[in-house]
Symmetry: C2
Subunit: 170 residues, 2 copies
């Protein structure tokens, strides 16, 4: 699938078919994360793939009772190994590196006919405890994956004129 089309078609999917994701399909999504760039190519990440129903239910609870987290056949916790480092410009490195990897997965998922939802509304300590993630790490995102049950919606976005300036702020 064309990159531009994947970008157009990607949307947040919060309703999934009761259908498992074959491992070979999942691996294609994870490969997109593996190939992602990171600052100084440190690849400071791990991805914990959760398929067990009881664990997905517990993750849903940790994600402020968002029930679709339990319904998605796969939930991936994107974990930062080095959450303390900062770029010269003042932006935390882990947040950017992990966001790139997760974004790659959302686009690769579209190509595989999968929907995803990027979740930041969860209790950090609860997820870490549940997945036995070491204290020094930080869960940067949860990503649900599954076959969409809902319909595509109109993508409501600002126009280019509203978000692009030339040569200086406008």
């Amino acid at each position: 699938m064309d990159v531009a089309k994947a970008i157009r078609d990607r949307r947040s999917v919060r309703s999934y078919e009761n259908k498992d994701i074959p491992q070979e399909v999942l691996l294609k999504v994870l490969e997109a994360a593996r190939l992602a760039p990171s600052a100084n190519n440190r690849q400071p990440w791990k991805f914990v793939v959760v398929r067990e129903a009881a664990k997905r239910k517990a993750l849903a609870k940790a994600a402020k009772e968002q029930q679709f987290v339990a319904e998605a056949p796969v939930v991936i916790a994107a974990v930062a190994l080095e959450p303390e480092r900062t770029m010269t410009c003042g932006v935390p490195i882990y947040a950017v590196d992990l966001a790139i990897a997760v974004d790659h997965m959302t686009l690769a998922a579209v190509q595989q006919g999968l929907g995803s939802c990027w979740i930041g509304a969860f209790y950090q300590e609860d997820v870490k405890k549940l997945l036995e993630i070491p204290d020094e790490c930080k869960v940067a995102a949860l990503l649900t994956l599954g076959y969409p049950r809902d319909q595509a919606r109109f993508k409501n976005r600002k126009s280019l004129d509203e978000i692009v300036c030339y040569e200086k702020w406008c």
Copy 2:
């Protein structure tokens, strides 16, 4: 171009041909940012496109003398409008939202035959002053764009076994 191929082919390009980017090509790259998802669809971003040679030179200086910043025909400053907000999980929203938008641009650039380099090593206040960006905003990244002059290199990455765990930390 196929998403998976764009992800495989994307690399950091630090040497550019002396060749301008047509505006219609640039707009396709910016469109990829425009369509990016963001927390609560706030689209808390602006993109300042710099083509003027003197400004690119000044940006190169602000980017710790990385000279290829001046050589790239286009430099985009990705600006966060709301740099203070944080998700429940403790991750800063602006860093993730802007990273997604910039990542979309890097992949759309590949499709257009362009190379890019994501830059975090720059002095925040210098770039803001140069582009007349308001105090309350934060420049999340600089992105150079241009036609690559260098050759593709081998992508050195950890194996999936090293970065993926199942059901719990490993």
